[in-house]
Amino acid sequence: MKEGVKINPFDFVMVKHFDDSYTVGQVDEINAYTDAPSHLTNYISSNLGDPSSTPNVERVQIMVAEAIVLANIRNDNKAELRMPVPSDQPVYFADEDAVSKALGFDRVLGEKIPAGLIEQSNGDKFVVYLDSHYIIGPESAHVNITGISGLAAKTSYAMFLINALYQKLNGKLTIIIFNVKHSDLLHLHEDPNDLTDMDKDIYKKLGLEPKPFPQDKINYYLPRGIGGRPDSDSPPNNYRLYAYTLSDIYADLDLLLAEVPDPNFTLDAFVHYVRDNWEDGVRFESHTVSNWDQLIRTPPEKISRVVYGQSWHQTPPRLIRELKRLTSNKPIFVDNRNRTNNEVYLGQAIKDDIKENRIIVIDIYRIPSINQPFIVGDVMRSIEDLYREGLLTNPLIIFIDELNTFAPNKENPTVITEHIIEIARKGRSRRTALFGVQQFKSEVHNQVWGNCSLHVIGKLGSAELSTPPYRELTQEAKNTVLGLQQGEMLISFKNWRNPIKVVFPRPAYRRSF
């Protein structure tokens, strides 16, 4: 390298090739070499191991930067040249035009979505664009964001990208967001309180406005708490409460019982019985069930006789115990008579709300972890219903934090995991994108992250980086991930040959700390 030039991994470089074409590469590993062939040479040079001795002249040393070839750019519409670059050609920092062509920004099928800034070591800054057709379909879909808690700023990046999509698509999509942390995502309509001048500058360069989501387009759904109050941290001003009566979800008891082991499908038999025989309630001989309280008071022997055709079956007592554990003393499970006007069944509300421009925020932070999968699963099933009925036609983004909780990497996926896998598989053609966030991608079902077109990686630990989801990263990329700072991400997009390091601004809404 020319004396004085500083270069770093992930810098873009370009070199002239045949036919007036040029090849663009990305710096990967940089090594320093001297003409000392062994440590013994250096030992002798330091006067046989004297650390204070200074050689009289500097030893010759070189830095060699290896680059991964991204593209060969031609002006004659011929196929790109895959030949090695001729030797002794000077290599330069790539300019914006070269980077743009190498990453295919000039061949975007949908809308160009700014995803961050590339900062070259020579001081140049370029905008990185994603193709919306590869984020929310129909070419491909889904985003997965991973990184350690706090430092990686995973949620911040997800919300920055969602905002970018919302702005660039002029709101022609629906967004469903699950809030899993305090009131992090309960003030998306409020002005940001922590944007720095540097953040504003990045927004300007990205062609985005640092503005929150429009208040009139957001619906916040908070869980019903004791006394009909919201069970949320720092609730927003306008919200609706959600709660579940038995009549709302009698057909979805499989979701409620999803985490309960059922190796012989005996619980499944009960679920099917209720679903098939519900008429404003369901009867077990003389015992009528139309609310949660009646359900958990059902005599087990009656269920045994009605569902299993035996005077005694071991499943009903276990079933009643599980139902008590899942629903008793949980204010979100209510009877019709207790429901206030501001309370809704979330599944139906989602169906009513999924319209262009809408942003639906569902708070599940204070929901016990045993009930959270049920809420997510119920929303997924409602969306599935809409598809089946042909009522969902506009693009949809579903943002799920702590994705490993809902789609864990287990051999036998639960019904909720299956719903999420289904979206990962079919979302591309349905134009439904799953934005999943988690600390450890290795703990998420591989069919979920494997279907993502965009992988975003924040700071991670070395143990996680050695797991299969990161196998495609070079060692240098892994080293970079270990040292990423807040506001820096490595993004790997389906259309690119190598990941890119970007910086991004804080999201433009009021955040809790």
Partner: protein
Amino acid sequence: MTSLYNDQLSDIKSLGMTLRGGDFVTAPSETPIEEERRADFDQVYDDQNFMNENVCICIEELSNNKKYIGDIKYTQRLSYFLDGSLRTKYLGEYIEDDRSFPVLATEVISSVVKREKRDLRLEKLNRKFVFIFPHKEIGLISDTLFDKLNSLDSSWRSRNSTFYIEFLKGKPERDIRYSMQGKARDIMHKLESETANHLTPNESDWLVMDGALRKEEFTKLEYTIGLAKSFSRKPSFKLSNSTLNIARYLSQIKEGERTAIFKTKADEKICFWYIRLRTHPPMEPLEGVVKVDYVHEKNELTEEDIKLIDELSSEIYALRSPSVYPHPRWPSLIYPIRLAEEFMHTAFTNHEVIGYYGKILAKTIRGEMS
């Protein structure tokens, strides 16, 4: 393909056309055979200094016959480091009627490394690719061919080609190929001398030549020393109280010490002394020692002369680091000279290209290529 490559190819064909009419038997391998380096020529040259008289005259009296120079403060003077190298190839045998002679090609390179404080950089690199033929006076080549080759050489020189033709004069010492190799070395020394003449050593920027100041031209260079890592084992040294052979004398010289200063005979232009750069790991007495040649025509040394020699010695001693281990001569090789060597080695034309040139030459001579 580069224009330099095309020019060279065209010049090779010109040589082939010039040689057309005779027969050319190429070296029996794919690539021309590299001529063996049969001896350490620095040592051979130094041996010649002691052919008749091997007792050296001491021109400096020292107690214990040695001086520690490792801690003498010096002004940095040694700035240019010059080395030369060559690769000589036997291309084949040329047969013209009842005459025949070997054709050798030698690539000679000289390079200069410039030192600025602690930094080293390449100051100059000169190279020549020379075809060596016997001179017509030896009787192995016809007058006509000799004249044609002379004319070709003139045309090459007129347009600054990298190719040259040189002729071996005089009766061959052992065999013609051996003498042609000697000619190749002469060409290298000449190139070294030309390179040195283009430098401007001065009081604060001295030139260090690798090896002895053996050529007359070298002794005319001011502010120049020769630094030889190989030298003759023949000399003895007449000291105040005894005469010691070189092995015994140098075995008494410890790291950082120099010997007294000597001349091979009175009124000799050059004085010399030895400095031990290293003693560890244990090595034989002449290893780890450099011989310094310095032009000093008088038979006495003033205090200023000795001060200068001490400072130069101290500076040479300091240059033993960085080490060039595991080079076979590492104990007595200083880094800037090694770097100059390295620049040359990377500049030599590679074997495949020379092999290709040989094939083109043979085909052109045989009329298979024009």
